[in-house]
């Protein structure tokens, strides 16, 4: 559910903002100490998408958002709320 709201909010972003958001989410994910909760197949898809320069694409951004939402739920909620707030302005 959170990931769906996040993807909805992302639609409003310009491409540069989306790049910056991907960087922020990836940093949260790679800095997390809870990565054992992220399914390995999701982690590997995020890994490959970064290498291929495809993390910005919706399909992979959704995977990244999902991984962050389960490893760092509070931080993910804050990012989503911020995006929604920015969208309302």
């Amino acid at each position: 559910m959170d990931v769906a709201r996040f993807m909805e909010a992302v639609k409003e972003l310009a491409i540069e903002e989306k790049h910056s958001l991907v960087g922020e989410l990836l940093d949260i994910l790679l800095s997390s100490v809870n990565l054992e909760v992220v399914p390995d197949d999701v982690g590997w898809r995020v890994n490959q998408a970064y290498r291929d320069g495809k993390l910005i694409e919706d399909e992979f951004l959704r995977e990244l958002a999902y991984a962050v939402s389960i490893a760092e739920p509070a931080k993910f909620r804050r990012v989503t709320e911020r995006l929604k707030g920015e969208g309302l302005r």
């Binding site: 960087g23 990836l26 940093d27 949260i28 994910l29 790679l30 800095s31 990565l35 054992e36 992220v38 390995d40 982690g43 590997w44 995020v46 890994n47 970064y50 290498r51």
Partner: protein
């Protein structure tokens, strides 16, 4: 010339370690040290996977402990890795910390002798020679595809000297420039005994680093690492830092129990600052010059690095590039 590498602790899933290694290579670091600890993933098995998906960075396994892995097997593992990635394998051998070894039922007896013997066995086996030392005899039945540099991981004066005497390199596990200068001079004593030139071995400052724009977050991240280092310090170092008595006992107890929350209560920030390069990224900028001036030929950016790993790695790379320009290295 000074080279720069990054330590990765293989306690996280392989997909993360793999991605981090890729980014470290992308940022231009020379190598990755994969730490070896019985509680974490095996550094050798992890390296085997990482080496297949990188093309340039060398990989150091260490500090590998001959009390937990038999030296013959260490040689076998290192030689096997040379087939995966020739000329990109290094290993560091060290006696580890007493607390961890005791927790898995191993007594740390005569560490200097143990390391000297282990390095002799490993070096002979990697050179395709037959080993005949005490109860150990035999050879590898396959050819290593390249040489493997053997480092000594050291903290105490005698181990640092031994590193200078027998190592292709030494990992001096300190972060404070004052301690690093002392450690460098101990390594030099060992080198002088052998008549080798100091330039012939790679002396690495194995720093523990925790950086963030928010210094409090950096300190919080550093505390478990500082406590772990503190427990393994030689007595003289503890005296220099004025860490004794009840305070030290409380830290040791918390480390042994893995009670990280308790550590936040019992560790002094001042001690953390003596053991870890901690604070805003500018602190590393200031210290890098001092460390390179001492003579270190390698600087290892050791874990935890910081609470925001990617941002911090990029800041560190900038600091290194600035230092290189400033010092013309």
């Amino acid at each position: 010339m000074t080279t720069f590498s990054v330590e990765i602790v293989p306690k996280d899933p392989l997909w993360k370690i793999d991605l981090l290694t890729y980014i470290i290579e992308e940022l231009g670091f020379s190598g990755v040290w994969l730490s070896e600890h019985p509680h974490n993933r095996s550094s050798f098995i992890t390296a085997s996977s990482l080496l297949k998906k990188t093309s340039r960075v060398w990989m150091g396994l260490g500090v590998v402990n001959p009390y937990t892995i038999n030296p013959f097997v260490i040689a076998q593992l290192a030689a096997s890795l040379t087939e995966v990635a020739p000329n990109r394998i290094r290993i560091a051998i060290g006696a580890g910390d007493k607390t961890t070894l005791e927790s898995i039922g191993i007594e740390r007896v005569k560490p200097l002798e143990k390391i000297r013997e282990a390095v002799t066995i490993i070096r002979q086996l990697l050179s395709k020679k037959k080993v005949t030392i005490d109860r150990v005899h035999g050879r590898l039945d396959f050819n290593p595809r390249s040489s493997v540099l053997i480092y000594i991981g050291a903290q105490g004066p005698k181990m640092l000297q031994l590193g200078g005497e027998i190592g292709d390199g030494v990992l001096a596990n300190y972060s404070n420039p004052e301690d690093l200068e002392w450690a460098y001079n101990e390594v030099r004593k060992g080198i002088e005994r052998t008549g080798r030139k100091i330039e012939s071995i790679d002396i690495a400052a194995y720093l523990t680093v925790s950086l963030d724009l928010d210094p409090e977050k950096a300190v919080k991240t550093a505390i478990p690492y500082a406590a772990y280092i503190l427990c393994g310090l030689p007595e003289k170092m503890m005296e220099r830092m004025d860490v004794r008595g009840e305070k030290l006992i409380k830290v040791k107890e918390a480390v042994q129990k893995g009670d990280w929350l308790r550590l936040y209560d019992v560790m002094d920030v001042d001690i953390v600052k003596k053991l870890v390069i901690v604070g805003q990224p500018r602190i590393l900028r200031e210290k890098l010059g001092e460390i390179i001036d001492i003579g270190y030929s390698q600087v290892v950016i050791g874990a935890p690095i910081g609470p925001r790993i990617l941002q911090t790695l990029r800041e560190i790379k900038k600091a290194i590039d600035e230092a290189k320009t400033r010092l013309c290295i």
